[in-house]
């Protein structure tokens, strides 16, 4: 039996088998005898999640544009199929060729969230590739990783040969070209890594030595070879308007989380909310022109056959020509019977005429990411949304018949007091009052306000990287306080599980020693940690203990401004002094204007293409 026949027989007994066999419309199949470099793009979570991810779609077609490269997809199997693979001795394979991953030249993981780290190890093991980088001696396969978590990749440094910092559109091809060169002349892995370290954005963790102080903090991080730079700079696409964007997607058969066309309208964010990592690591703010966006929308809709297209960005409303863009897009989507969805749109400043056309906004209801319950605390975190804005938007919405409001908050923010917690309840009750003040003839039947809280996780490269996370006991107390303060059946509270936030904080701010704990936890069976039903915090605690690491040291400790951070040798362009200054302002509850109102000098050079930089 061929590998394919074997797999097909096994699929007769698993859940949603279409996820494991490839062959989807848009998937790229090439003749492998004509390929120089084979790349397996691995998303360390299940198909349903990974196939929804835009970055993967971009890099997949980018690499496949090149005739001599072949990029394939691979995802984490669900538990049932994982067992089937093990029982039948089938190594993890890529979906296009169904060839095992160990036959590939490069294996690339995208690290989108910390709780997917153990899945990387599981996938390597399922693929029969040594999990530890030091146990992989040959040139192939090289294991690389990119994505937002790579801004502090230290807890993954034992497993990954090369980290790719920043935006991948250029550096991925440079890396593959170099690989091809070294492969052709029969070079070694060592040789390749040394050459790769010269490419901007490439971080080879084994080329850096880390020493520690007696109190456990970092003493020094420095390169152990002349080939590695002391600081590694992230990559940025300066000419964003002309950046590669795919004109096709792989269209899955089974339903996935985001099952639609997606067009990227802008990158970076002008706002600088102090808790938000994305707001800092994706700087500067760049946007695509209307014609390019329209053209990309049209191409994708035609190729995929999706009846929905969504605009992707951190904050769509910040496009400089947003009203015109939406009008022109709606002209196209109306004509083609495609619905347009705008997940991150602030609806404050649009004409009701335009709102009427954007029907999908109505469907999804009203959502506010308030993040904090009082104006003082919103100023601390630099979240630019006021109570009167929220209430007046609600008023208009209730008069238009809306009946659901979703409010998102964080608990455990720096400087938070009980008053801020009670402010959450107060705000929810005020919204309720606005509903009851709305004339009965106008408002919809029954109001439902849902309040969601998540625990604040301090992240690297934000002004809050110095801040401790509130302890689980504190969070628990705050949650109880909030429960007591919410007095209406119309308000529903849901809170996020604490243990995962603790682990997230540890992994986000962890140093190299934490690689051992990740390995240990995985050995104990931790995987799919992002899924409540699989998450086992006690195993993680044991793993940390066995490695002599203290979770509180990582999660709940305040860092001084002059402490060496595990990611201080990585340069995400925003300067440390800017972050420190922002942190100081936070403690004084002083806000910082957004980039559009005027540049605040975060350290990004004009040459990176930012619309407002230096203005």
């Amino acid at each position: 039996m061929t590998n394919k026949e074997k797999i097909e027989q096994l699929l007769l007994n698993v859940q949603k088998p279409a996820r494991y066999i490839g062959g989807e419309h848009g998937s790229v199949v090439k003749d492998k005898s004509k390929i120089d470099v084979r790349f397996a793009f691995c998303f360390p979570d299940v198909y349903d999640i990974g196939m929804s991810h835009l970055g993967m779609k971009i890099l997949y077609s980018l690499k496949n544009e090149r005739e001599n490269f072949w990029c394939e997809r691979c995802f984490m199997p669900e538990k049932d199929y994982k067992q089937v693979l093990i029982d039948n001795d089938i190594p993890l394979y890529a979906l296009e060729s169904l060839d095992p991953l160990y036959e590939f030249d490069m294996i690339g993981f995208t690290l989108q969230y910390e709780l997917s780290y153990t899945n990387v190890l599981s996938m390597l093991e399922l693929a029969r590739i040594p999990v530890l980088a030091k146990d992989r001696h040959a040139l192939a396969p090289i294991v690389v990783a990119g994505g937002p978590c790579v801004c502090n990749p230290e807890p993954m440094s034992d497993f990954i040969d090369i980290f790719i910092l920043g935006e991948g559109e250029e550096v991925n091809l440079e890396l593959m070209d170099l690989y091809n060169e070294v492969k052709k002349r029969g070079g070694s892995k060592e040789e390749f890594l040394h050459l790769a370290a010269h490419i901007e954005g490439i971080y080879v963790p084994s080329f850096y030595d880390v020493t520690y102080n007696v109190d456990g903090t970092l003493k020094c991080i420095k390169p152990n070879t002349d080939d590695a730079p002391p600081k590694i700079k992230k990559r940025v696409i300066a000419d964003f308007d002309n950046v590669f964007f795919p004109d096709y997607f792989v269209v899955p058969y089974t339903s996935i989380v985001h099952d639609r066309s997606v067009v990227e309208v802008l990158r970076g964010c002008i706002r600088g909310c102090r808790f938000c990592q994305a707001g800092f690591i994706y700087r500067p703010f760049r946007e695509k022109s209307i014609d390019i966006i329209k053209n990309e929308t049209k191409c994708l809709c035609e190729q995929t056959g999706y009846d929905e297209v969504s605009l992707s960005s951190l904050s769509t409303s910040d496009h400089t020509k947003i009203a015109q863009l939406l009008k022109e897009l709606a002209d196209y989507t109306d004509l083609e019977n495609v619905s347009l969805s705008l997940p991150s749109l602030r609806i404050d400043n649009f004409s009701s005429d335009l709102l009427e056309r954007l029907k999908t906004i109505r469907k999804s209801g009203l959502t506010f990411a308030c993040e904090a319950g009082t104006q003082r605390l919103r100023d601390v975190i630099n979240k630019n949304i006021t109570e009167s804005e929220i209430l007046s938007t609600c008023k208009t919405a209730f008069e238009g018949g809306y009946t659901t409001v979703k409010l998102y908050f964080m608990l455990g923010l720096p400087t938070e007091t009980d008053e801020d917690i009670l402010g959450i309840a107060e705000l929810a009750h005020k919204i309720l009052d606005v509903y009851f003040e709305t004339p009965k003839e106008l408002r919809g039947g029954s109001i439902q306000i849902s309040v969601s809280t998540a625990t604040f996780v301090p992240k690297p490269f934000t002004p809050f990287e110095f801040e401790p996370q509130a302890t689980p006991e504190e969070i628990d107390r705050k949650q109880k306080l909030l429960v007591k303060a919410l007095r209406s059946k119309k308000i529903k509270l849901s809170t996020h599980q604490d243990d995962t936030s603790v682990l997230e904080a540890c992994l986000a701010k962890g140093d190299r020693r934490m690689s051992k704990a990740v390995y240990q936890a995985w050995k104990k069976g931790c995987e799919l940690d992002g899924w409540n039903e699989h998450f086992d915090f006690s195993k993680w605690r044991e793993a940390f203990d066995e490695c002599g690491l203290d979770m509180a040291f990582y999660a709940n400790r305040k860092r001084e401004y002059d402490e060496l951070m595990p990611w201080d040798h990585l340069d995400y362009l925003v300067t440390k002094s800017f972050l420190i200054n922002e942190n100081k302002k936070a403690h004084l509850a002083k806000t910082t204007r957004n980039c559009k109102e005027g540049c605040s000098g975060c350290g990004i050079n004009k040459s990176y293409g930012g619309v407002y930089c230096g203005k």
Binding site: E8, Q9, L11, L12, I21, G23, Y253
Partner: protein, 233 residues
Amino acid sequence: MANNLTPKNMALRVERYDYRLVFSKKGRARFISHLDMMRTFSRIFKRARIPVWYTQGFNPRLYIMFPLALPLGTESDVEIMDISLTERMDSDELMTRINSAMPEGLSINKVTEPAMDHKDIAASQYNIRFKLKNDKDTCGLFKDYLSQDRINVKKRSKKKGLIDIDIKPDVKLLSIKEDDGFAVADLILPSGNDKNINTSVLMDGFKEYAGEEFEQIYTTRTKIITKTGENFT
């Protein structure tokens, strides 16, 4: 072929033209579930720019009908799908346009008018190519299995859960032969609204009878048969 629809408001009356497509579902496409077929075809039609008719009303939906469900993992030469278009299209053109937008494994073989009613469907013919593990005499055992006085198998019923039934009267074996270690059987089982028996019911029963798992099994629906014994497609 053009049906007038019920809306009293003349402005809402849209003429619709009904077509029956006969298509095959082979290879990897056999893992597309019945539920996912709807999603898959709505995208295919959109890509192929077929003027499909949407159900009228508050929440318009693409009108696609699959009268017979095909179990996940089974291939077919004769799947049926009824669709409606807002304008008349030449059958050949319709077929070519759709086929050019189809993913691997799906292909339209015939476009007809929906002459016969779905209620006329009584049975399906299957070709099953299978082989037990451990070099068992698959063909011989299968013949023995079918020649029992009663073929008792377990069938899942909506109301009663797993029930024991005798399907001896329902199985009609047309031929069986041995080929390269495989047993290859052509047989007929009831399908449709009145009575439906999936091949898995018969084959799971066989696994139990033989006390052995399959090493490989390939099932293909090859014909759909009406109550009067005619070919439905």
